[in-house]
Each structure stands twice: as structure tokens, then as C-alpha cells.
């Protein structure tokens, strides 16, 4: 018997004929009805709580806000290919699909997001053109994400419902961090040590 057949047979033997009920009561909250302005404030608060820097602006001021946010960061900026021209700072270089490890040459990355979850301060990138491939938001030391108000939901269930589970997804909640030394949180390990969020709303 193959290992596969063996393991499956063991499972069937272990379960026997009587199977316990399999209904799942989902009595937890699946929506968050707070008005959008409140959700934006919660998102900002949660992001800042985990040491991300949030810049709020009007939708037509994204470009200048990104530029201002990146001010003082020495080195080149790489942008995901789908990032609109108006968002890009002067001199930014579009990701050209070079070997992933070569992305370490950049000081900062600019991407959009797919969805943002206010309650947990989470941004989700789905490797679509505006988010870029996964290595792009990983290797440069500064990550700038633009979030528009329509992308913000209140709760985790609402966030997951908007995602395609077949795409490579990265959920980001603050800069990389570790709690491995005395269970104290320290920001900045292998991922970007700085997370800047540009949150655009009317």
C-alpha cells in the first residue's frame, strides 16, 4: 500500500462509522457597520500603534504626499508596475522583473493594496500589478503603501471576503517585528523596517 492509501485508511479506521456532527455556528461578527470616517480613524490608530507612519490626504494629493513621505530617504524608489503615474515620485523606477534578489538595491518600494482591515491595522497585497510581486514589498527597507478609502473594511471576515485565495497574498500589519527576546516586541527584523501608509479619502 502507498503511504497515501495507508494514511487515508488509518484515518477511516480511526473515525469509524459514527461521525460527529459537523455544523459550524458562525455567531461571530461578520460585518462592521461603523461609518467609513470612523473606520479610517481606527485603521490609522491601529497602524500607528504598531509603529507604522500614516499620512492622510485627499485622493488628488496622493502623489505629493508620497513624495513628502519619502523625503529624506536616500536611494532609489521602485514602484509596482500597476501603480498610477500620478502616485509615483519623480525618478521612481518601475519593477522590471529583474531577479528578485536584485531588488535589494532599492531603498524604498511604492505599492497599492487590495484591501485594508481597520480593526487589526492590516494591509493585504495580492501580487496584482498595483501590489507587485511578493519580493517587491519585502526586500527594500522602506515600504510605502497607498490605501484608498474604498479599500478599507472594518473586520477580518470582510477583508478575507474581498480576496482571491488562489493569488499569492501577503498580509502586512506594521513593519517586521519580533517578540523573541523576553517576549518584548521590537520592530524591524528581516522585512522592511519602515512602513509608511498613505491613506487617501475625501
Amino acid at each position: 500500500m502507498s503511504a497515501r492509501d495507508d494514511v487515508l485508511a488509518r484515518i477511516r479506521t480511526a473515525l469509524g462509522t459514527q461521525q460527529p456532527p459537523t455544523e459550524v455556528a458562525r455567531d461571530y461578527r461578520t460585518t462592521d457597520d461603523r461609518p467609513l470616517p470612523e473606520l479610517l480613524d481606527v485603521l490609522t490608530d491601529r497602524l500607528e500603534d504598531y509603529q507604522a507612519t500614516v499620512h492622510r490626504c485627499a485622493p488628488d494629493a496622493i502623489g505629493p504626499t508620497v513624495t513628502a513621505a519619502l523625503h529624506g530617504i536616500p536611494g532609489d524608489v521602485v514602484v509596482a508596475p500597476g501603480v498610477p503615474a500620478q502616485w509615483r515620485p519623480a525618478g521612481a523606477i518601475e519593477d522590471d522583473g529583474r531577479p528578485a534578489v536584485d531588488l535589494t538595491a532599492f531603498a524604498a518600494t511604492l505599492t497599492g493594496v487590495t484591501v485594508a482591515v481597520a480593526e487589526t491595522g492590516t494591509l493585504v497585497l495580492d501580487a496584482s500589478p498595483i501590489c507587485g510581486r511578493r519580493a517587491l514589498s519585502l526586500l527594500p527597507d522602506v515600504l510605502v503603501c497607498v490605501v484608498t478609502a474604498d479599500q478599507v473594511v472594518g473586520s477580518v471576515p470582510e477583508g478575507l471576503a474581498r480576496l482571491d485565495p488562489l493569488r499569492p497574498l501577503t498580509m502586512i500589519s506594521g513593519p517586521s517585528a519580533t517578540s523573541d527576546i523576553e517576549l518584548q516586541r521590537v520592530e524591524g527584523v528581516h522585512g522592511p523596517r519602515t512602513l509608511l501608509v498613505v491613506l487617501a479619502s475625501d
Binding site: 488509518r10 478575507l160 500589519s173 517578540s179 527576546i181 522585512g191
Partner: protein, 486 residues
Amino acid sequence: MTAVFLGIPTAPAGVGNLRGDRSFPDAARDALRDGQLRANLGHATTTIRGKRAGVVAEVPDWAELREAGRAIKAATMARLDEHLIALEEQVTARGGTVHWARDATEANQIVTALVQATGATEVVKVKSMATQEIGLNEALEAAGIEALETDLAELIVQLGEDKPSHILVPAIHKNRAEIREIFARTIPGVDPHLTDDPRKLAMAAREHLRERFLRARVAVSGANFAVAETGTLAVVESEGNGRMCLTLPQTLITVMGIEKLVPTWRDLEVFLQLLPRSSTGERMNPYTSLWAGITPGDGPQDFHLVLLDNGRTAVLADEVGREALHCIRCSACLNVCPVYERTGGHAYGSVYPGPIGAVLSPQLTGVEDNASLPYASSLCGACYDVCPVAIDIPSILVHLRAEHVEAQTRTTPEAAAFRALSKVMSHPRLWRLAQRAAGLGRFLARGRPTLPAALPPPASAWTRTRDLPTPPAKTFTQQWAEEHGS
């Protein structure tokens, strides 16, 4: 029904890290003398308990989430075979390859062969309990392949030639000064002025690993969840070392216990709320990576998923004990456990320490191979209270104690005593006589209010550190009957 009865094998001995070489009380005795260990554990568990309590209290529907988490896991186990087949189909359809391993030996062989096929002689690893359990690093090393742990705490353990003592923070038993010392001693070219500031230590790890991530061709990971209906795998982490391993190398090998499955994508909405708050005490962990098979132009182009049994089906055969398979390895039960807090994880002898280890390890190996673990608990219930999937650990502990007792073929002195006591306690007349006999203990006291400390075992285990009051001359029921008739 038990696995032994059904002929389902448990995890084999001689491979992996599920068995200690000493009983829990013996190992604990040494740990309890280690003042530094006690201080480190006390400090760390107190910190994390407070953080967890804070972020759990924030969630108004925690009880409902917890119940959903429990129910999803129960539902998963009830149809585990079907879900695994679905997962295999989905992963395969998206360009991955699925392997099945009956036990640790087989899993180690599969992974070793896969690495050898790439020609690589080193692999980078994301922290994974499953690969710790099967002793993969040792197996790879025997085949001439270096396995580099990239999680900070795992790195500390690996560099210090130590063993993990916690499922989330394997180096919880070390404080910053000890970690600084390990880094200064073992990392080539490390800054000689390295201080014990946790941030500086984290930076030293970043420097040390950066180059290795960039040149790695093969990564080995575990998985926190796998979604059967979509073939999506999830790794929940903080540092970004997971993302490095899951994104940069050409080949990714994921080793996953068969119980890590959830049926639907939607189920993750429950666990991604329960897990981070319970484990690191954060609303959400910094990074969660999700992937299904391979994606052209993004990440590894060669993906292997190894599904591991290693005793899990034996656990599944026990109607009471199978709940232990629901565990999402958050470590909340360790952090609140008064026993773990004092002995640390090494005393449990297995990679799974603390309350969950005390119920999981003996079931994976067969209870006789870890017979002291089910007794390593005062049954205080703190673990059950915090468990995000409501595993009734105290009840499983008690169940396993009974399994151990019932597995004995010879009558132990303890069993003889308990059987005699059962007879006495179920016959009021015998019980009254026995109580009177206990009252005779007062003569040992020679009029003093406590019994002498030097009593024969097992009483000495009590009186070594605690006084025992002299029994009264009359029991309550005796005196009551005298006063009230009856």
C-alpha cells in the same frame, strides 16, 4: 476505542523529538533549581499573559469566535480523509506536488531526497513544529545538508546548541544577556561591541541571515493552515524571515501535520482572529503569507507539500483525546500554565511542552512512552480557559491518566491502594472504620498539632515541605451522629 486496539501505529521511537530521556518529575527537579531560568520564564510569561488578556478583551465576540474555531476543527477531523484528498487535488492542480509520510522517518527521507535532487547543500528554514518533531535538521545533517533556522528564537537555540523550550518562542528560557553572549560567541564577524539591547540583537540576526536568504535555493517551512477547498497554505509570522523563505528560493518544501487543515477559505476568518491575539498578544501578526501552488514569475517555481501522520491518526482514534489535534499552536496554554512557568519546556522532554504537550506527546507516542506527562498538571484549568479553540486539556489529562492506569498489566502498589480505597469508600460501614484508623494517626503526633515531618513515603512527599495537621479524634459525621442521633 484506542489506536492500539485498532492497530494504528504511533510515532516511532528512535527518530524525532517527542520523547525525553527522563520522567517529568525528575527533569523538573533540576529545572526548578535554576534560578535564572525561573526568572526568565516568570518575566516572559507574565509579559505575554498581560498582552494577550488586553487584546482578547478588545474583541466583543471572542466567545463566539472560539466556539466557531472549535466547531470548525471538529468538523474538519470528522471528514479528515475527504479534506486531505481535496487539498491534494487543489495543490496539484496549481502546480505543486503532494507527498504523504506515514511517520518521521518517511518524511525525513522525502525531504532529504527532494533537497538532494536540487543539488543544494544548504536550506533555509522557517520555524516549524512539525520539522522539529520529526528531527528533520538532524536527518538533513546526516545527509550532508546544512539546515539554517531563520526565526530569531530558533536561531538562538541553534547557535547555542540548545533545545527549544516553547512552541512560539523556542528561546524563551534565555534572557537578553544570555542571547548576547551566544551571538558574540557564535556569529562570525559580529560587532564586538554588541549590547544586550533587544533591538541591537535583532539587527545582528538580520545581518547574519541576510546573505543566506539571498543565496538560498531551497527553503523548508511548516504551515499554520491549509485550505482544502482552494489548496491555499498559510504561514503566520512576525519577522519577515518566513516571507524571505517563502518568496526567494526556487524550491519550497512545506511539511505539514495532517491536522492543520481547514475545509474552506472562509474558515480562516476565524483563525486569523484567534491565533495572533492568543499567541503574541497582537491584534494581527506583522506578516501572514498565503499561497496556492506556484505562481509564474513570483516566488518558488517548485513547490512540494509533505503531509505528515507520525501518530496523528492514532490520536484521531481516541474519541476523548482527538481534541488535541485541534491545536493551532498559539502557545497561550503554555504562557498561563503554572507548571510550565516554573519548570520551563525542557522538562517535558518533547518539542511540545506545556499543557498541550502533556496531552499531545503521550498520544503521539503512545501513553506508555510519555507516561509521566499526563500527571504534570495540577488540573487548575487555566489552559482550557485561554485556549482559542476550547480544547478541554484538563479532561484529556485525566483521560490519559486513566489510559495509563488501565494499560498496566501488573498491579502497582498505587493501584492496589486505590482499589482498596474504592471498596472502602463505597461501603459506609468500612469507610467509618477507615476514618477511625486515620484518626489513629494522631498518636504519631504525641499531642502536637502537626504530624512529624519524617513520615514514610508516599506521605513524606507531602511532609517534606508541608506540615500535616494531626487528625481529630472524631470525624464530623461521627460527632454529628452522636449529637443528633441517626
